[in-house]
Symmetry: C2
Subunit: 333 residues, 2 copies
């Protein structure tokens, strides 16, 4: 599958894990995490590898600097491609590293988690978190290539598979209700699911690469509240878990505003619960969540913007949502 | 004057210092240094201002992070422009901050030093230094606007004016020998000089924005050795001072290779000396300089690339220069 963008295009090629490592230049610098290093040591031995601690906390400024200084110490040159071998954390971090090392070099995404496969490895949004908010530092920097091996999911902890399912459900909720039966199967066909989701994401980002028309912003369904919840939990909640709660709350926000049909939030909630995802979060202070949301990149003036469902399977960006409406939903959580 | 680039264009508007501050949005976040804060306090009072320590050492990762976190704490939004009020250090730093804050926001360059006016505020190259080398982290991120007030030069320390003259002389050496009489005047017309240099830079960057054809790389004359000298001095030498030495040495390298006409280095040296710039640097270890050069962004494989004079007023990028030739010139210094 080829994804087009303003500066060119890149190919997403499907292959086995072994083929991934055959394809990678033996000299290419690889950035990965300690879980993957343990599982795939035999493929990594003898290569230039920087191993980071697995987990969202890794997507910070200290590791951004560490990666850049590592590349500089290795004297990696402009002509070389940097490889992101990992989930969304590694992919996002390596992306911003590639976007800024020597004013921009190529990078190859090798997504190893379900979440990275269906979401972060496609679309070119890269970045790191600040203490003030998620993804506040970043760039639009598409990979030069995505090597897709769903075989990596075999070594992915079950909890992480469920984590990725939140983003998969998001596609069903915002644009592709026809995915639902596939996702409700007890023995899911992940290769098929991943390919369908990637194609949906491709269509969306090709239509609105720099998030200017609002179309790409529909991919943020569940994320405005979800990011705040993720932050408030100090990243103890996984991204997918926080997004799951966020989707239910944003569906309820849409219902309260008369945008989302009544009953949608309850339907969404039961799908997510059956998948093993959390859908409520009691402990959080609504005012604190709201304050995190004020740092959201979609904020303009004192009004918030939300991607809201106009139906189950249809989504649109709405601006000018008042903080009062948001607080109401957060307080009822 | 309008500068065109791949994503649009920006205007360089000439005005007085007072007009600069009238033009800036009173809400715009301004990043500047302590020298400028002291001189222009009356214009800065009541505005959102982040003040950094003046000096090349400021162009580092810690300040990059500090600027981003300051913007996030101030909840600066995507629609706002960040103002770089300062010399090359502030301009380069704010540029990479703007390129990566919220995945990229606009920034306005207000160059206050001669060096920033004729060089760094035009062309969109932004970045910071790593311990491993100069400008190793950065982006191509053109400003949305350049507000040019040569009146700022009145408060610029004499040493800094001379520092900027190194970049001015560079234009005379690489492309515009007709500048020479203007630069040799005892009472230089800086407004005229700045405008001529900016126009030369504009032509070069418009022709080769991403430094792919070699034309833009001619602006690096003196910089490959110069950057290494600057680094080796631990930034005790000013950029212009290091570049001045670098230009003499690179002219000598060109002569040794039969590319630059014999006698050119001596001519260059006397122009620079008469301006008050250093042209030799005894203390530095040639092997250490060479090691710094290996991190240069133009390096490919084990060969170095240099912008070399083919005549006084003409320059071209040459690849495949051996380390032996470079060491010879450095050792004779």
């Amino acid at each position: 599958m080829v994804v087009k963008h303003s500066r060119g295009s890149y190919e997403i090629s499907t292959m086995s894990v072994e083929e991934v490592f055959q394809k990678l230049d033996p000299e290419a610098p690889i950035i990965t995490d300690n879980n993957l290093e343990a599982y795939y040591a035999k493929f990594l031995n003898g290569r230039k590898v920087l191993v980071l601690q697995a987990g969202e906390g890794t997507k910070n400024f200290a590791n951004y600097q560490k990666c850049l200084e590592w590349l500089a110490t290795q004297k990696v040159q402009r002509s070389q491609s940097i490889v992101a071998l990992g989930g969304g954390v590694v992919g996002d971090l390596v992306g911003i590293v590639a976007a800024t090392y020597l004013r921009g070099v190529k990078h190859i995404q090798v997504p190893t988690s379900l979440l990275a496969m269906v979401d972060s490895s496609v679309g070119g949004k890269v970045g790191i978190d600040l203490p003030q908010g998620k993804n506040l530092v970043g760039a639009f920097w598409p990979p030069s290539e995505v090597l897709l091996a769903t075989e990596f999911l075999k070594t992915l902890p079950h909890e992480q598979v469920i984590n990725g399912m939140a983003e998969v459900w998001k596609y069903a909720f915002i644009v592709a209700p026809e995915l639902t039966p596939l996702l409700e199967e007890s023995d899911r066909d992940y290769a098929k699911i991943v390919n369908l989701c990637i194609d949906l994401k491709r269509q969306t980002v090709e239509a609105d690469e720099f998030e200017t028309t609002g179309q790409r912003a529909t991919l943020n369904f569940g994320h405005t509240i979800g990011h705040a919840i993720e932050q408030a939990s100090d990243y103890q909640l996984l991204h997918g878990q926080a997004i799951s709660i966020g989707m239910v709350l944003e569906a309820r926000l849409g219902e309260n505003l008369g945008i989302t049909p009544t009953g949608t939030a309850t339907k969404i909630q039961s799908y997510l619960q059956r998948t093993g995802l959390p859908t409520t979060q009691k402990a959080t202070n609504p005012e604190q969540l709201l304050d995190f949301m004020r740092s959201d990149k979609k904020v303009s003036g004192s009004e918030l913007a939300f991607a809201l469902l106009t139906d189950l399977g249809a989504c649109k960006l709405f601006r000018g949502i008042s903080e009062k409406n948001v607080l109401e939903v957060l307080s009822a959580n």
